[in-house]
Amino acid sequence: MKRLRWYLCATVATLALTVPAHSDEQHRLPFRPTLNTYGLPGLIDMPSAHAMPDGELGFTFSHAVTGSRGTLSFQVLPDVTATFRYAGIPDFAPGPGTGTLDVYYDRSFDLHWQVLDERGWRPALAIGIRDIAGTGVYGGEYIVATRHFGPEDRVAVSVGLGWGRLGERNGFTNPLGILDDSFETRPGIVDVLGGTLNTDQFFRGDAAIFGGIEWQASDRLRVQLEYSSDTYREETADGLRPADTSPFNIGATYAINDVFTGGAHVLGGDTFGLSLSLALNPHRPSLPPGAADPAPRPLDVRPRQSTPYDTGWLDQPGGADILRANFEQTFEDQGLYLEHLALDTGRATVRVRNTRYNYSAQALGRVLRAMSASLPPSVEVFEVIFVVEGMDTTRVRVARSNLEALEFHPDGSSLLLAGAGIEDARRVADPVGLELDVPPPRFTWAIGPYLETSVFDPENPFLFNVGVSLRAEYRLGGGFVAEGAIRAPLFGNLEDARIVNAPPPNPPPVVRSDSARYRAENAAYLNRLTLAHYGRPAENLYSRVTVGYLERMYAGVSGELLWQPAASRLGLGVEINHVRARAYDGGFGLRDYSVTTGHVSAYYRLNDDFDLQVDAGRYLAGDWGTTIRLDRTFNNGWRVGAFATFTDVSFESFGEGSFDKGIEVEIPLAWFVGTANTRTLSSTIRPVQRDGGARLNVQGRLHDLVTDYSRPMLQETEAMVWR
């Protein structure tokens, strides 16, 4: 249960409400733009040229009789906003010949780029594409300019030119026609599967003018008036709005606090709508990092003396017991466990298991202070090796006199990490003199609730199961771990997930699209039962072999090898699995389908803000291809990423969505609660889970396990070393 599910976020986010608002600056127009009913910076339906603060994650829900929209917006870069939207339109026929559906669910993806920011007299300018890869119900493009006026920039005026859905009202011949005649006509959508770029549509066909004005009436209240170029043509045709309505929409939003904003609006005098948006920003936690943790133990500084420190202690009888007691006392209640200590008169190496600190530099700082309190003064070189799944990761070497000199230095954190030696634990031998081995407990268990969710299923926006999970682990020694987990769902609706009835032509083997059948068996089931071996075959190399019931749907054997030097931004891995599909009932039975699947992977830390991962190989359906994954990362552990997989399964054979892709959001629980905690809230949003490009979901993949203590990660969290 290392990862709680995303939806716990909702409850924890409400905790954020209890914290008083930050400065009023947060509420000002230029600082935090209003999110429109599409979840993008804008007015009511129309966009503006604003951008959200960097890293902001916005959730917007809007509702009117013309449909409900839920949008996840993320400010990927200071000037680029990306959104994913799930909308439900009642009694709607999405296209000619489709017939009217009770609720038509539509998923769409947008990009909004603030090309120029506002400066002097120059307005901000933004270009956007709505529904880049979908079926085009909300498809439209725009270019918009926004400028602020008045004292404290309380008024913002936006004027724009729209195409597609935004070019409907009083549309005129596309001015881009001067570049090429082809801009003057917008072709119909040919791709009915969605998932591919509708590039032949972008900025084509008639264009129309839209605009609006927004007024910051008070610190929290804003009023919007817009002239809309969207006539809701298809909704009107289906009787959801009257014909010939006014082009003017009016609305107001109220910032309840830093997180929630509520709004109400009237479209054209005929349609009333409501909206609620929730904004989280990795830079704006409700509590500063580590704020709710108790003060750390200060460093124990050695007495200064002109003669060398005594070294006779090394031969003192019972020395190991004293040191063990010292560490036990200083590590008590810190979630840090000493596994091994080796020292001579001048150097000490500790191996430590960290179960609490999500910031690796904070764990390092705590261990170094425990060493300063526990070890005799003659020990000048401190070495810390964090042990993960029994594997030594990096060896961090710090001079004790440096530690003492930097505790209260204004640049103490950076200087300490810059001066630390960080290398593979295997590179140098441990000191020889006194040795202490504290093996971890062999048997551990945990029982607790679990929540499993699936969001934005094509026919159901939210599916979940709640139940009880029992997990047990037995360490056999020598790097071998036996682990099992049983789950008993108590209630939920996950089994309602759509089972694809009409498969696409020449489909790949069914490897994931039958997941609902596994969930339909609502009795207790074996989630995992594995025997794993983790090891360090050579310097910079990590290995894993796992045998057994690897995940809910597959059993077999999985082997992985990772090359990851301690200070490198690049890691390379290879994984090979041979698996057989498990029986639907969650017991020990297996089904006929078996496959050999595996990948070679490259992990690259592009800079302090982005991680790139490329996996190439064979997927569960026997298809060959590549997954590309790009994550925006934050020092505090936030991670928002997108991935896409292209394999030799054709778009047509893949079916709806054309290829596998998704968005993953991961937020450390510590960010919400302000105390050290290794748990994360994470959720993967996949528009459609099909059979092409599907991967095995094995536990304990090496890269995530071992990179926390690499130089890049220690330096990115260095501010926490003295916390």
């Binding site: 409850t11 704020a291 003060a295 500084v301 006392q329 008590e332 204004p410 029982i447 607790g448 505090n636």
Partner: protein, 239 residues
């Protein structure tokens, strides 16, 4: 329907939160075994026992409880700290010394680090801590009783672990010595004022006040610890 499902889910989540998971990990209470701390704690316990306040929930009025006699009997130096922004009053004792810096701690897991002379260096365990600072200019000015301009640096942690540095330019001035009572003992101390403006913006910053003896030791002070924590009032309770 969808809304009802969401509400059901939220109810389920609340139930989940209530049904706290348990596991095999040992979770004993924290017991500090540091001898220095236990001495100080015993002293405090003794003092509060003597104070005879019947209601354990009522915070003791430290000024009434800590008589000069008790302070003189204490085997360890103590400081009285009052932080109005969080309505905190506490007696702290020293738990560590690192060069010119002394870290003081009380019953709660909160610490203040003061320079040897008594200038605030850092805080830990408060929601909004003063992460680190450069106070060398102030220390020199107080030690030498020399008025003039000094520079200062305050560092706090941002949400994404950024170390946010704010520089201040501070004018230090001294007044005429005056009699100041500290828990029943009157000392003749020189008042000093440190008026700081933000170097980058020129905005008004904060004002610190110190009362120092002839050796430059700060006996009473009101020192700024950041926008949220505001001023920390500190009095030294030993000879």
């Amino acid at each position: 329907m969808a809304l009802r499902r969401v509400l059901l889910t939220l109810a389920a989540i609340a139930a989940l939160a209530a049904l706290a998971g348990c596991d095999s990990r040992d979770s004993r209470d924290s017991r500090e075994r540091d001898p220095a701390v236990s001495v100080a704690r015993d002293l405090l316990r003794e003092i509060f026992d003597r104070s005879g306040t019947g209601a354990p929930d009522a915070p003791p009025d430290l000024r009434a409880v800590f008589t000069r006699d008790l302070i003189d009997q204490a085997a360890t130096p103590l400081v009285y700290v009052q932080i109005d922004s969080i309505q905190a009053r506490a007696i702290l004792w020293p738990v560590a010394t690192n060069g010119p810096d002394e870290t003081w701690r009380g019953e709660d897991a909160l610490t203040l680090t003061l320079s040897r002379e008594g200038v605030l260096r850092a805080t830990r365990g408060f929601i909004h801590d003063l992460h680190a600072s450069d106070i060398e200019g102030t220390r020199r000015a107080l030690a030498t009783a020399r008025a003039g301009r000094v520079s200062r640096l305050a560092i706090r942690l941002g949400g994404d672990l950024a170390q946010i540095r704010t520089s201040h330019a501070c004018d230090i001035g001294f007044g005429a010595p005056e009699a100041i009572a500290i828990f029943g003992e009157t000392r003749r101390l020189t008042p000093a004022t440190e008026r700081c403006i933000e170097t980058a913006t020129g905005d008004a910053g904060f004002e610190n006040r110190y009362w120092i003896d002839a050796a430059g030791l700060v006996w009473v002070s009101d020192q700024w610890a950041g926008a949220e924590l505001g001023h920390v009032h500190i009095e030294r309770l030993y000879r």
